[in-house]
């Protein structure tokens, strides 16, 4: 890992992450207070990384943007922003307008929040967030956007409503499977009889988001993404939160439901029924694979390369559900010490295989980590090779897969070589989808 650069960053900046999230909000219209190129950069990042999904209803090059030039850098951009917001309200129909700042406006020091406040005073549905690109990566921008929603859009609600929960932790477009994964998590929670608001799923609405402070629990299906927002929510609205890993497959989904039920005091019979139904359906379906899985010897060693969510969740699925051997897990996010400790603790709990977690932003270094973990052949006659193997990662890991002669599946951003719209891996049934995708990559030459 270099201390001075990031190789092919697997995310964009905080402005980008916030823009992606507003694109995914029902009725969300981003207004970028930024130079012209930021919107295009995000559209092209989605084009290359989000498995062929670009934009949303007002995404890509349709995003309203003040397109700052030298003049605004010298004299300030407040007046230009005011004009842009006024015209946006005229030209573009939306449910919630979100002004987002860029590097340029943060450095110049434009006071966007007072501009936003003035429009809100006139009755516009508008909030703002300070997302200057140098403040962090896109996952951080996702968190900042949530914080802005919690602060300025959702209404204070007391008392809390029993059985009502909010869930987040899956960043739209940065997780190319965001729609399917949100839906998978919703289905899990609904199996406990809960009413779920998840902000960015097709079933969500601005009305439900506005009322989301009535939830009795916030569930963050990530150890990193949206944690700061959960803390801010609790401070402002008094709703506590539960952070879990992304529940992929039957083991993680069972643990997820058990943890949620415990926090909410859900009746044991309800939990047991949900666990039974989820596991039974998964294994009744998997049953059909039994012959081929054995006869074709489909167990694999694996390298998992992914963001903070996928690195942990995929490793656990392979080790606990599929019975594979994930010998090396690489998390490609830039994380602070505390975040790294959280992920390490999670992986330490994974059963069946002693996981080996490395934090490395640069994809080309992964093979070095693998060689240190699993020494290469010295030319000995009997060499216990890292084979047969499989590489789960982003599309950059094709090079690694080729180098070690293994099949490969792109799951974590960037996913350039798959088309994803509705697919998700979270929950019980979606675990089967992951099994299908992994094994299909092995047998596609058959």
């Amino acid at each position: 890992m270099s201390a001075h650069f990031i190789e092919r960053p697997r995310y964009t900046c905080s402005l980008g992450g916030a823009t992606f999230a507003v694109n995914a909000l029902p009725g969300g219209i981003p207004i970028l207070h930024a130079p012209a190129g930021c919107a295009g950069s995000f559209a092209w990042a989605q084009n290359g990384g989000s498995a062929l999904q670009v934009g949303g209803n007002c995404g890509s090059l349709s995003i309203p943007s003040s397109n700052l030039q030298e003049n605004e850098v010298v004299f300030g951009g407040d007046a230009r922003l005011r004009q842009q917001v006024k015209n946006t309200l005229d030209v573009v129909d939306g449910g919630l307008y979100v002004v987002l700042t860029s590097c340029v406006t943060e450095i110049v020091g434009d006071d966007i929040l007072s501009v936003v406040k003035d429009f809100r005073a006139e009755g516009a549905s508008i909030i703002g967030a300070k997302t200057g690109g140098f403040k962090g990566n896109a996952y951080h921008g996702y968190d900042i956007l949530l914080q802005a929603l919690f602060k300025d859009f959702i209404e204070a609600r007391k008392p809390k409503r029993r059985g009502s929960v909010n869930v987040w932790g899956i960043a739209p477009y940065l997780d190319p499977f965001w729609r399917g994964n949100l839906l998978g998590v919703r289905r899990l929670l609904q199996s406990l009889g809960l009413q779920v608001n998840s902000f960015f799923a097709g079933e969500d609405s601005l009305e439900a988001i506005r009322a989301s402070a009535e939830a009795e629990l916030n569930i963050v299906v990530s150890d990193v993404y949206g944690i700061d927002a959960a803390v801010a929510f609790e401070e402002r609205h008094g709703t506590p939160f539960l952070a879990t890993s992304l529940p992929i497959g039957p083991s993680a989904s069972s643990a997820f439901l058990t943890a949620v039920a415990e926090r909410l005091g859900t009746a044991e019979t309800v939990l047991d029924a949900a666990l039974h139904e989820g596991n039974r359906t998964y294994y009744k379906t998997l049953e059909a694979l039994t012959d081929c899985y054995q006869d074709m010897d489909l167990q694999r060693y694996a390298v998992v390369v992914g963001d903070a969510n996928y690195a942990v969740a995929l490793t656990r699925f392979l080790a606990e559900d599929l019975g594979w051997l994930p010998e090396l897990t690489v998390c490609t996010d830039q994380l602070d010490g505390e975040e790294q400790a959280r992920l390490t603790a999670r992986l330490d709990q994974v059963k069946n295989v002693a996981a080996n977690l490395v934090f490395e932003t640069d994809g080309s270094e992964v093979i070095g980590h693998l060689n240190r973990r699993w020494p290469r052949s010295q030319g000995q006659r009997y060499y216990n090779a890292f084979s047969p193997a499989f590489v789960l990662g982003s599309s950059f890991e094709r090079e690694l897969a080729q180098a070690i002669g293994a099949p490969h599946l792109s799951i974590s951003f960037p996913v350039a070589n798959r088309a994803i719209l509705n697919r998700g891996y979270t929950g019980f049934g979606n675990g089967l989808t992951l099994v299908e995708d992994l094994l299909s990559a092995i047998v596609n030459g058959r």
Partner: protein, 509 residues
């Protein structure tokens, strides 16, 4: 003093008086065009677009054995995720090998913004040089270094003696120019100042043997027939092959420059007999340098899209070499065969209205191609306007059935939605990320640019026709989409004058 003596290439709004905000009819454009080339004040409502950094990275990421080091916040350069697909497929088409581009970001953070990041950049260059051992490192600066005052040229000058890669600064501070075509000048500026001399100075090479002398003589002969064929990534390999084929018909050899060409061979461009642009929007800055510094003459009048324009392009080159008669024979045969092949598609195309949007030159010549195929042009939007395409307006005006709309805009799909809603064309051709507006309105669309597809030359004309025939045969995707997917614009906007936000920037609220 040449602008190449400066650290930064001039911006096009100053150098060429390029504008991005204008509306008019096609018939007046040829005469009036120059009137728009003033400080055009811009729109009071704008949508995000691209900046020169994206375009520059598209070129640099397609240079072999080159590491692109972006000095900026971590989001500048995320466009490369999309460009990497071109690097992979373009590399495969030319070398048979699939390789990812290597781009790095200094990912400037709050501390860097406050204390400056020249030190970080220097260390990043050193580390990139050691880790990847590239032949070239392009150091591309985004907005932030421009704002905090990092001097990338000084960092590079200081480091160059101690690293093995050749370092090329490319200035892409997005807020400094609203004409993203400045990117071509920015990249050529970096190449022109740093990569046109051989890596190993020729004087130091061992003296030639007898065979070597003969080879050198043959090389000299070859150079007299070598043409620099400029491609800053607007053509895929399939299009290059078509132009190489046509040049070979004249006995000429193409030296393709600069994409997918090894930077260590860039100096060859300085020895060619002629440089030929394939898109006049791209190359004038560099072609002038090649002429002034190295005496290589150039042609920059045509883009070889469409039958007639391909023939004119070829004729100009042949004329330069005194090969007019050969060219006439080639053109006669090529045109006859192509026109005959196109007849089969004509019944589906005849009289259908088409609307186009792209870079100025590409849009105007593709419009002429579509007229050749039997379509009627009903509107053209272009990303900017400058003086290079004046002749093309005259050609279009001569054949126009109506005085259709010409709209200069750096994309701005809100104007397009309003216009398309009025014009209701039967077909739309738009650039990258520029087809979704028409698609959601239910109009059959086809991409006007994609480096995997053929557009150029006689072959390109036929392939475009073939694809449009396919598009029009079953336009159900867009038609179905339009029933359920809305554009984000208000009803009030569709009723307003499509150009009511032109020239309103800075107006009092």
């Amino acid at each position: 003093m040449s602008s190449y003596d400066q650290k930064v290439a001039p911006k096009r709004e100053e150098r060429l008086k390029t504008c991005i905000a204008h509306s008019g009819g096609v018939c007046g454009m040829g005469r009036k065009a120059k009137a728009c080339m003033i400080d055009d004040g811009e729109r009071g409502f704008t949508q995000g677009s691209i900046c020169l950094l994206l375009v520059a990275l598209a070129i640099l990421n397609a240079m072999p054995e080159t590491v692109v080091l972006i000095h900026g916040a971590v989001g500048c350069g995320s466009c490369a995720h999309s460009q990497n697909a071109n690097t992979r497929s373009g590399g495969a088409a030319r070398t048979g090998q699939v390789k990812d581009a290597i781009w790095l970001s200094t990912a400037l953070n709050e501390v860097d913004v406050i204390s400056g990041a020249e030190g970080k950049l220097g260390q990043a260059i050193r580390e990139a040089d050691q880790r990847y051992r590239p032949k070239t490192i392009a150091v591309v600066s985004g907005c932030v270094p421009g704002l905090i005052g990092d001097d990338i040229d000084s960092v590079i000058a200081e480091l160059q003696p101690s690293v093995s890669a050749r370092l090329v600064p490319v200035h892409c501070e997005g807020f400094k120019t609203r004409i993203w075509a400045t990117a071509y000048d920015a990249v050529y500026h970096g190449i022109g100042r740093n990569l046109l001399t051989p890596r190993i100075p020729e004087a130091k090479r061992a003296s030639l043997s007898r065979e070597g002398e003969q080879a050198a003589l043959l090389e000299q002969e070859k150079l007299k027939r070598t043409v620099n064929l400029m491609n800053v990534s607007s053509m895929g390999r399939v299009d290059e092959l078509e132009l190489e084929r046509l040049l070979q018909g004249l006995g000429l050899e193409a030296n393709i420059f600069p994409v997918f060409t090894h930077p260590d061979t860039f100096h060859k461009a300085t020895r060619a007999a002629l440089s030929v642009s394939t898109c006049p929007t791209h190359d004038d800055y560099f072609l002038r340098q090649l002429q002034e510094q190295f005496g290589v003459p150039f042609l920059i009048k045509r883009m070889p899209i469409g039958i007639r324009n391909t023939s004119l392009w070829l004729k100009d080159i042949a004329g330069h070499f005194g090969l007019g008669a050969t060219a006439d024979r080639i053109i006669e045969a090529e045109e006859r065969e192509a026109r005959a092949a196109l007849e089969q598609f004509r019944p589906l195309f005849e009289g259908r209205k088409v609307f186009l949007s792209a870079g100025e030159f590409r849009a105007l010549v593709t419009a002429q191609l579509l007229e050749e195929l039997g379509f009627e042009v009903s509107g053209i939007r272009m990303f900017h306007h400058d003086a290079f395409a004046d002749d093309e307006y005259d050609k279009l005006a001569a054949t126009a059935k109506t005085d259709y709309s010409i709209n200069v805009a750096n994309v701005q799909p809100f104007e397009e939605a309003n216009l398309l809603n009025r014009v209701k064309p039967d077909l739309f051709l738009g650039h990258v990320n520029g087809n979704s507006t028409a698609a959601k309105l239910g109009i059959p669309t086809h991409t006007i640019y994609n480096t995997g597809l053929a557009y150029i030359g006689y072959r390109g004309a036929f392939e475009v026709a073939r694809r449009l025939h396919r598009t029009l045969k079953n336009p159900a995707f867009n038609r179905n989409l339009s029933v359920w997917a809305d554009l984000p614009y208000s009803r009030k906007w569709y009723e307003a004058d499509p150009f009511s936000h032109l020239h309103s920037r800075g107006d009092a609220l």
